[in-house]
Symmetry: C2
Subunit: 407 residues, 2 copies
């Protein structure tokens, strides 16, 4: 039995005829090594925007069902062109739209969720030696309506197909060559990781290392699909996202993620009674504002302080909401700060190493960086600091934990 | 029961967002009169060529199945945009791709033939008051592969849908406002006909009045679908293509069609024995040359003359082929002429009017036009003349038969 590899190429990787031909060369090379290959592609970059622009010219809020009908054509063109390029290279290939694949989704147009994939026909084609080329981002509901999965949905399509086929690996080709210990623009010695766990990747992704769609990572973890992030433009092994193994336990910290565009809000001196936290958060969520970190410390004199962070764009609105609810709750005061940044150490190894947090805080103290909030999970320690110290703090921690060295 | 109208808009009628909005206005106006409407649309003009060009850049002979997958996206974008424009005008509407309509075709990619249409879902939607917007030019085969009907196939799609729905009328919107008695560029007094029969339209279409696809007219005749040709850009009743009725029998000649790019070839003095004609034509068809008119007169001294016409581009090749077969058949000589034109009078009324041919020949003689070949059918008289007399002959006949007058 040959290995089944699912490869996903995004919009910039298939941006024009020349790039599509380069992808065909890459796919052929992988097939010539004896692998069975399913390729999932996005629309040529710019194409989806061009179509959406025409639709919005007609109606700023176009009918969601029809927007999906229009948008789905972007990937349909790419699958045909790539299949033609493969056949021109003597590689037997066949394209599948979301409908033809029976990529069954719910009926939430523009943001559908995958329910099931009927992999039988694809499996037959693979056994007959064909390369399968699938339109990402799109599916079909029970009634035969065309649906799309929302921006970045092609990653999810690829993982779902890999899960249905029990593929040996799902390779996501992008414009970066892997996942780094932190942003190389901030820390020049940042190192590409060979491996990272699903949990770590989720923490890294949600914190701004936007290499992969979070949904795709969750999906891959749930269905045990090994994911690999690679560059479409350079050769290299990329980063494998997989389950924890013995080798990886030795690595304590995998990377440092950070987020610049947050703001924090604090309600001071509210009664320490049940229901207070939910009343505060309800005032926020009623305004469709998403909350990121939430910290509440123990009570003092029967009152407590409640702090959370939101996206900086939502700061003013959240502050207004808090001032109203603060009065109702007889809070002492409501304060906020827009000039903050969040920084997180991520690593599965930290579970068994109690000293990580103290070392982190010590490094920050040595650099004169004051910690305004702390929040921890099993595999992550996050702190809120003044945004002006962010780069300094990231570099100091990257050095202190020797992340530039491959361990 | 409201009338069911199928409207078809070609590529220039939906060339951009503004034109699509104008089509939406036209559709809404027709629906507001109480009609049930199915709209069939082509790709925005230029779109199919753009896609084919990319495919041919990759492979001059792209896989036919994949070319269909790519080309079908053109109409898919149009149906979505038009449906969005209708809904923006408060008209409840729903788009259908060829697959969603179950427009079943054979598997001849790039030139598929329609086998069946499952109209049930469309009928339900029409009954619920929706306008149905269908992608022309495309279908699906038994295996679920996307097929296309070949250039101009959208006319055929519209007629097929009209037949399946037993529509009251199938309206083909184009850039001309109807079918004329002859080409208005040659005869300024040429008149738009209110009605023409299917048979006349077939003769007119095949002779160069390229308003409608021949296949669509044949289809409409076979399934008794009244066809109407109208302008998308101007108001007007266009031309209704329908069955012969009493009123129409009074009209003897409907129109004058002509063709400039023909050439004639003659084999003189071949033995008048069975099998000679087929041997001559086989030599031509073996070279994939299509033959138009064929004329053979009675024998004389045991030999006969055999003449036929081909497209002017095929003249040299046909002449070579004839010279070879002429020797085998001991023909006296092989001659040809590239400087000819074909001119035809068309009209169902001529069946019962023996005098038409003699009047036609007399008019031509008065103008000094020599007739080189004559061929007739039930509703058509065609002559081959020197091409330099073509415009003169068309004008003289148009006057003589008073075609500028509505009878």
């Amino acid at each position: 039995m040959s290995n089944i590899i699912v490869q996903k190429y995004g919009g910039t990787s298939v941006a024009n005829v020349e790039r599509i031909e380069a992808v065909a060369d890459k796919v052929k090379a992988c097939r010539d090594l004896g692998n069975s290959i399913v390729v999932v592609v996005s629309a040529m970059s710019g194409e989806t925007n061009r179509i959406v622009k025409m639709a919005k010219q007609i109606d700023p809020n176009p009918t969601p069902r029809e927007l999906d009908v229009a948008m789905a054509t972007g990937e349909q063109v790419t699958i045909a062109l790539l299949t033609i390029a493969l056949e021109a290279r003597g590689v037997s290939a066949r394209s599948y739209t979301g409908s033809q694949l029976k990529m069954l989704t719910d009926s939430s147009h523009n943001k559908a969720r995958i329910l099931n994939i009927d992999a039988k026909k694809v499996e037959e084609d693979l056994e007959s030696g064909k390369v399968i080329v699938v339109a990402g981002f799109q599916g079909v509901d029970e009634q035969g309506n065309i649906t799309t999965l929302g921006r970045g949905g092609s990653d999810t399509s690829a993982v779902a197909i890999a899960a249905a086929l029990k593929a040996d690996e799902c390779q996501i080709y992008t414009d970066v060559d892997g996942v780094y210990t932190t942003d190389p623009r901030v820390v020049p010695t940042a190192r590409r990781m060979d491996r990272i766990t699903f949990e770590e990747m989720l923490e890294m992704a949600s914190l701004g290392s936007k290499v992969l769609q979070i949904r795709a990572v969750e999906f891959a973890g749930k269905y045990s699909v090994p994911l690999r992030v690679l560059s479409s433009f350079e050769d290299g092994d990329g980063t494998l996202i997989t389950f924890e193994d013995e080798e990886m336990e030795d690595v304590i910290i995998s990377g440092i993620a950070f987020q610049r565009d947050e703001a924090k809000l604090t309600v001071r001196g509210v009664p320490d009674t049940p229901g207070v936290a939910s009343k505060i958060l309800l005032a926020i969520s009623d305004r469709n504002i998403e909350v990121d970190m939430i910290v509440q410390n123990i009570a003092n004199d029967g009152t407590t302080d409640f702090t959370f962070t939101v996206h900086r764009n939502d700061y003013e609105q959240a502050l207004n909401a808090l001032q109203q609810v603060g009065e109702e709750l007889t809070a002492r005061e409501v304060v906020g700060d827009e000039k903050i940044a969040k920084l997180s150490l991520v690593g599965v190894g930290m579970r068994s190493h109690a000293g990580i947090a103290s070392k982190m805080f010590e490094v920050l103290a040595q650099e004169g960086v004051n910690i305004q909030m702390i929040s921890t999970s099993e595999i992550k320690i996050s702190v809120i600091i003044d945004e002006k110290y962010l780069e300094l703090a990231v570099r100091a921690l990257h050095d202190a934990f020797e992340l530039e060295q491959d361990k």
